[in-house]
């Protein structure tokens, strides 16, 4: 798992992951690249991350992937990420196509729902919590 301040250098991350596994004998590699869309007059999105729990979430996924013979990779931005740049890259390497297609979907969707990352719109230099696009994590409301 890799965290960066500011936008991701997608090409170098992708190229490095490919090099790392050039001889690992995986048959399928599926990256997912998330790019900040220009919409609603935002200049950027901005992210807070709570790393200890994100790392545990990721490690549990790595375990799950390995049980299916695959591995997962992930990079995410911290702080401001301008429109048309990337905040998030994840990937699956797997011996087989089917497992890779299933895993990338499950991994990305679970990431959206349960990775401890908070998103803000940046408008005129101000950070506004994207509460309406956010999802309560599993078990939310315990203290209510």
């Amino acid at each position: 798992m890799e965290l960066y301040h500011g936008p991701l250098d997608v090409k170098s991350i992708f190229n490095r992951w490919l090099d790392e596994h050039a001889a690992s004998n995986y048959g399928a590699f599926i990256p997912f690249v998330g790019i900040i869309r220009e919409e609603d007059d935002i200049e950027a999105l901005s992210f807070d991350i709570y790393e200890p729990i994100l790392q545990k979430w990721f490690d549990a996924w790595q375990e799950k992937a390995m049980q299916r013979g695959a591995i997962v990779k992930m990079a995410h931005a911290i702080g401001d990420v301008p429109v048309h740049t990337s905040s998030y890259v994840s990937a699956v390497f797997s011996p087989k196509r089917r497992v890779a297609l299933e895993l990338i979907e499950e991994f990305v969707e679970d990431f959206k729902a349960n990775a401890p990352i908070w998103k803000y719109d940046v408008k005129k230099g101000k950070r506004i919590y994207a509460g309406d696009r956010s999802t309560p994590m599993e078990g939310a409301g315990l203290l209510k």
């Binding site: 545990k56 959206k112 990352i117 908070w118 309560p136 599993e138 939310a140 203290l143």
Partner: protein
């Protein structure tokens, strides 16, 4: 004493309170009207492990994290 920290957009500094269980933490946090609205939708971790049991005992020095709704990616 245990520490309660508020992650992401809640924007509140950590506090130290006496609490034997998360139920105690809940009672204490509800005294703060500004926090009450968050509690409905926040998940909870103790020492960086997500928890789902209000009655599990807390130990001296434990760290309770309050996690508001997320949106990575």
């Amino acid at each position: 004493m245990i520490t309660v920290e508020f992650l992401g957009p809640i924007g509140k500094a950590p506090i130290q309170i006496e609490a034997k269980t998360l139920a105690d933490v809940s009672a204490k946090l509800k005294e703060d009207a500004a926090l009450k609205e968050w509690l409905d939708k926040c998940a909870v971790a103790v020492n960086d492990t997500m928890v789902s049991d209000l009655s599990a005992p807390l130990n001296e020095g434990d760290r309770v994290s309050i996690l508001p709704p997320v949106c990575g990616g």
